[in-house]
Symmetry: C2
Subunit: 398 residues, 2 copies
């Protein structure tokens, strides 16, 4: 039988990271490809303790029964406190939706707002899975230029005027893929500009807690006076990616729409996942675990920067992030990291081609994203050494 | 700020059951409204044991880390065996996708196939959440008549010819809402007819294990020669609704498309939920738990049938299911159960209006769905007594 798929399927292929993820069953390959937290940072003992307590509680049957789509009220209450740590002081229960990971939050916003052909502005470059989700809604994405301060405000306003976008998607703190952070002034200006033109902003924040250097910057949502910013955060990079929990925080009307959209996708986030996140926050485990994690990530990032300085071709330029999980690099024109990928795999090292992070990928084959959170220090040095050798060979033959 | 939503939002309101679910925080209300399994059937001790074992295993960190979108390979393997119990003997790993509850399976099929305006055929009446999900894809649903044998095959073929539908949605065993079951001959004829016209069939099977009477009927998927049937089952009604796990089983090409669609919605089903389901199946807990559950559900159904005979107006007609969770009833014309609902809530008893289960709801205000799995025997008698009094009053004033 020949299947007659929906038109959205024409542009939907597995995302590069997810497909590479499948390759990485081979433990010999040193992977800088994913966005996995360090395995040694995952709080196995704490989750064991919490799971034992939850399953021993007299009302455990409640956890096995159906739950509310918006999430357990006690978790939502807890999340109104959690968002205070990013400067959002006035969140109430009706501002908060429990989501099955940050990815679902993005999906629900697009489901709420996007018709085929609607325009979304994204940073140049941006989170690749966002582009994939936008494809699934048949949105048209255009890139906005960035500078050291954040988004280029002139380019942003010009593109808002030109394209009348419905949504601006941002990762303002430790961006995926660049690791860069927007300044407070830049955030305020973005919030004001988008409010003026009636553009919804998705502030995607999986990484801001993972700061090992520099100063805290308040969330864009905390500067939102018009109600056009939707804040999305995830517990995937701290507590557990496999637990699939996150939070969306927005105006009550928007949360209600997203809740209705969530009814049709997964009814509700699994209760045990929710209760684990609730207890983890309530017991105050997040802060001490974060303190340890940022030391580890800072060391890993330093190890990668050092290895890059030592082994990569001197023409290679890259970012120096204060937090998050990624270094973003650029080779001279003539290097094509997409074509080089199979050779890297032969040498047992993996990365992600930078081109997949661009809404308009033409001419971006010389960019690369390197993840430093997953590999250990020895693997980081060895992997970068292998990449350095590979790309020095390539450069010498341009 | 005024929000400019996607056009799909115009027809999306919370489903009736989900919204009523919120009302039922009041424990004084006897609820026949939801589709919750009996709280006494939820295997709390088993899940406690399994969770303790999973969280104590040396490789527990793997459960906290990211997983594959298609699901844990060992769970998928287990599910290829599980579907043998519904007559599907040849399932391989590539035929199986782990889903976050049956609802997500439906959502992924529609995401794969449906463009706005595409037609879906459904049974008259059908699962209300399906209609809601279809709305979210801006599909047009038309009802197919049913008879005691299953779907009316003449009406089905006539409507396939008239509407060129992409999908036929069915709940062939213990249908929600009617509790009826299609015969084996009817299933075979549906599989052949839809294959002939290239129509995809969703065979939604959350209930077939909950048989307390009558003979097992093999799944429609087991009769599928063309590869047009997608089988969806859920562990929500047996193991736990709150755990949100299920299985989709179809041709490898379709499973791959659904997997790509799942990437963008929730990346993967939470690992702990998957592992709990895996261990529950592997340890052989399903069969003995089912044996006990069907006795309980059979008794509850009998209690409701008895109470209906005793207390409901004699003009009330209803089904007599061999399994599942629901009795479907019909009052004489002139009774409007939608208008009567607030009075029922005043008398502390809840039901679902039958009209929400119809693709074309005009003139169906006299239908009602009654769930017998959640309330206990005393509540069933008392609740039906209250409803009987209420509707006798209404009937006397027609």
């Amino acid at each position: 039988m020949t299947y007659n798929y929906a038109s959205r399927m024409a542009n939907l292929n597995g995302t590069a990271t997810r497909e590479i993820f499948k390759l990485l069953g081979n433990p010999e390959i040193i992977s800088f490809a994913g966005g996995n937290p360090a395995i040694e940072c995952l709080p196995t003992a704490r989750v064991k303790e919490i799971a034992a307590d939850i399953t021993s509680a007299p009302d455990f049957a409640r956890v096995l029964q159906y739950g509310l789509t918006a999430g357990f009220p006690e978790l939502r209450e807890q999340l109104t406190s959690y968002v205070k740590s990013v400067g959002i002081d006035d969140a109430k229960l009706e501002n908060v939706l429990v989501i099955s990971g940050g990815q679902q939050g993005i999906d629900l916003v697009l489901k709420t707002f996007i018709d085929p052909g609607d325009v979304i502005l994204v940073e140049n470059p941006t989170y690749l899975a966002f582009l994939q989700i936008a494809n699934s809604y048949e949105a048209v994405c255009h890139g906005v230029d960035a500078n050291s301060d954040g988004l280029d405000l002139n380019d942003l306003e010009a593109k808002i005027k030109k394209y009348s976008p419905k949504i601006l998607y941002t990762v303002p703190t430790f961006s995926n893929p660049t690791g860069k952070t927007y300044s407070a002034a830049n955030r305020k200006a973005i919030a004001e500009l988008t409010a003026k033109y009636g553009v919804i902003v998705i502030e995607d924040d999986p990484y801001s807690k993972l700061r090992f250097k520099g100063e805290y910057v308040p969330s864009m949502k905390s500067m939102d006076k018009a109600g056009n910013v939707i804040f999305i955060s995830s517990f995937s990079k701290i507590l557990s990616p496999g637990n699939r929990t996150g939070v969306a925080m927005a105006a009550p009307e928007l949360i209600r729409k997203m809740e209705i959209c969530k009814q049709g996708t997964d009814l509700h986030t699994p209760n045990l996942s929710q209760m684990i996140t609730y207890e983890y926050l309530k017991r105050g485990y997040l802060e001490p675990d974060l303190e340890k994690a940022v030391v580890i990530y800072g060391e890993k990032k330093a190890a990668m920067s050092k290895a890059i300085a030592e082994y990569m071709p001197e023409e290679f330029e890259c970012t120096d992030p204060d937090g998050g999980l990624f270094i973003w690099g650029k080779f001279p024109k003539g290097i094509d990291v997409i074509k080089t990928f199979p050779e890297a795999i032969e040498r047992k090292v993996a990365y992600i081609q930078g081109s997949v992070f661009f809404a308009e990928p033409e001419g971006t084959e010389n960019y690369i994203r390197l993840n430093y959170s997953y590999a250990n220090a020895g693997q980081i040095e060895e992997g970068i050494k292998r990449l350095g050798e590979l790309f020095k060979e390539k450069l010498s033959s341009i």
